[in-house]
Amino acid sequence: MTSRRPLSWRWLIGLLGTLCFLLLWQIAAWLSGPSFLPGPIRVLLLFFEQIQTREYLVTVGASYQRVMLGWGLGSLFGLVLGIVMGRYRWFGTIIYSPMQFFRVIPAVALVPILVIWLGVGETIKILIIGYGVALVVAINIAEAVQRVAPARLQAARSMGAGPLRIFWGVLIPSVIPEALKGMRGSLAFAFMSIVGIETLAAQEGVGQMIWSARVLHQTDVALLGVLTLGLMGVLADTVVRLAFRIFGYRFMLRG
């Protein structure tokens, strides 16, 4: 409603809100005692202390690797599957209902089966994260492909392009804006099963860190873990947004 206000003013309000929240949190922490609710100062100090240790970096690195690999491979697979689904209607119709079925099953529910089949390796974690992302991206892309103007396809065909040329030269560039938007949206989705997966089948990772803090009554470690997840997400989103803006410029992508 108020897009006319200068950007710096909005920043200021955001900053003010954050400061208010931190203040309230600190007061609540003082009132309840640090073992029940650790205050922001304590969590921040713990963060700066932990970030210098190798253990914390390995933990974060392990989770990051799972999420990003799962997201990247999942969206790549989803992109290809979505284009094929949108291009060949019969294939899309056949595969659509099983996909809907698997979309409503939380990926975490598949962990026990996959652990017995494939063992407790990195593969199943990436597979589970990637699978959720792939389904979401594929359905999005299939719809985007069907919206590609038929005139474009007919023009390419009449100029003698084969199916492979049409795929690379027409379909991919036409759906890239949609694909990039969908990929960025599914980044948050890729983070949505990491804690479940890591508590059910992992030795290290942020999810494992949060979950084992419960046994030792370390509320500050659990909070640090939650904070870490949030920061990881924001960082990944920023990098992805910048990369997409540079790459997507050619395809007239805005935002």
């Binding site: 955001g14 099953i105 939380p106 975490v108 026990p112 997840l229």
Partner: protein
């Protein structure tokens, strides 16, 4: 993807499942993989019938559904009230926006550790966790919906003398029904994901627990029953929502959902 007849459509929907079932049955009949890894369909069916007879299935479904609905409703109610309030108050909304953004990347189940430390492992913590999950899914949606109401509408109502509760009832509520419905659906999908995960991580009852129990005792047939049950429950919930949105949403032209 429009097809000519309903029968053809049903056939196409069922075909992949039939193919998968046939593949599964023939694979275990030819013993390509040991039955410890892939139990034959008959064994899974037997496990299902047995669990149906000793009441485990109905009990688990009941417990999970009760948790799910209670948490979802409470979270949606909170999200709607706070979403209405914050949607109207611009400065407050912008003040909390930077706090909400990182939360988008934090799985609701991540809070379970804290919640257990604060409230123990009982039903109370599950209710709180699910309320949060539902709130988390729907709040931002509802708030954005309120904030994006056409200002001309509000000004017109004001000019015609509506204010306070009247303005709220005649303009704000009907304009946000679509975003509340959409938010309710997203909230439900987050709640469902969260309850299944939480029951697998830390519970002694519910649908997720069937899977967990099976995996602790290496009972592949039970894991299969649990996983299929979760899938069917998910489909039932999704179907209910589609129908409800179709019924209620027609008035508020929601065909795009």
């Amino acid at each position: 993807m429009k097809l000519q007849s309903k029968g053809m459509q049903a056939l196409l929907i069922l075909l992949p499942f039939a193919v998968a079932l046939a593949l599964w049955a023939s694979m275990s009949a030819m013993e390509v993989v040991p039955s410890l890894f892939l139990p034959p369909p008959a064994q899974v069916w037997d496990a299902f019938v047995q669990m149906l007879q000793n009441g485990l299935i109905f009990e688990s479904l009941g417990v999970s559904l009760l948790r799910l609905c209670a948490g979802w409703l409470l979270g949606l109610l909170l999200a709607t009230c706070i979403g209405w309030a914050l949607g109207m108050i611009g400065w407050l909304r912008r003040g909390i926006q930077p706090l909400l953004f990182p939360l988008r990347f934090v799985e609701p189940v991540a809070w379970l550790s804290m919640i257990i430390l604060w409230f123990g492992t009982g039903e109370m913590s599950k209710l709180i966790l699910l309320t949060y999950a539902s709130f988390f899914g729907s709040f931002l949606y509802i708030m954005t919906g309120v904030a994006s109401i056409d200002e001309v509408k509000i000004r017109a109502a004001r000019a015609m003398g509506a204010s306070g509760f009247r303005l709220f009832r005649t303009i704000i509520v009907p304009s946000t029904v679509p975003s509340i419905l959409a938010g309710a659906r997203i909230g439900m999908s987050y709640s469902f994901l969260t309850i299944v995960t939480a029951e697998m991580m830390d519970a002694t009852s519910g649908v997720g627990y069937i899977i967990k129990y099976g995996s602790v005792y290496m009972r592949m047939d039970q894991i299969f029953v649990g996983t299929i049950l979760v899938g069917l429950l998910g489909i039932a919930i999704d179907y209910t929502f589609r129908q409800a949105i179709k019924r209620i949403g027609r008035r508020y032209f929601l065909d795009q959902l």
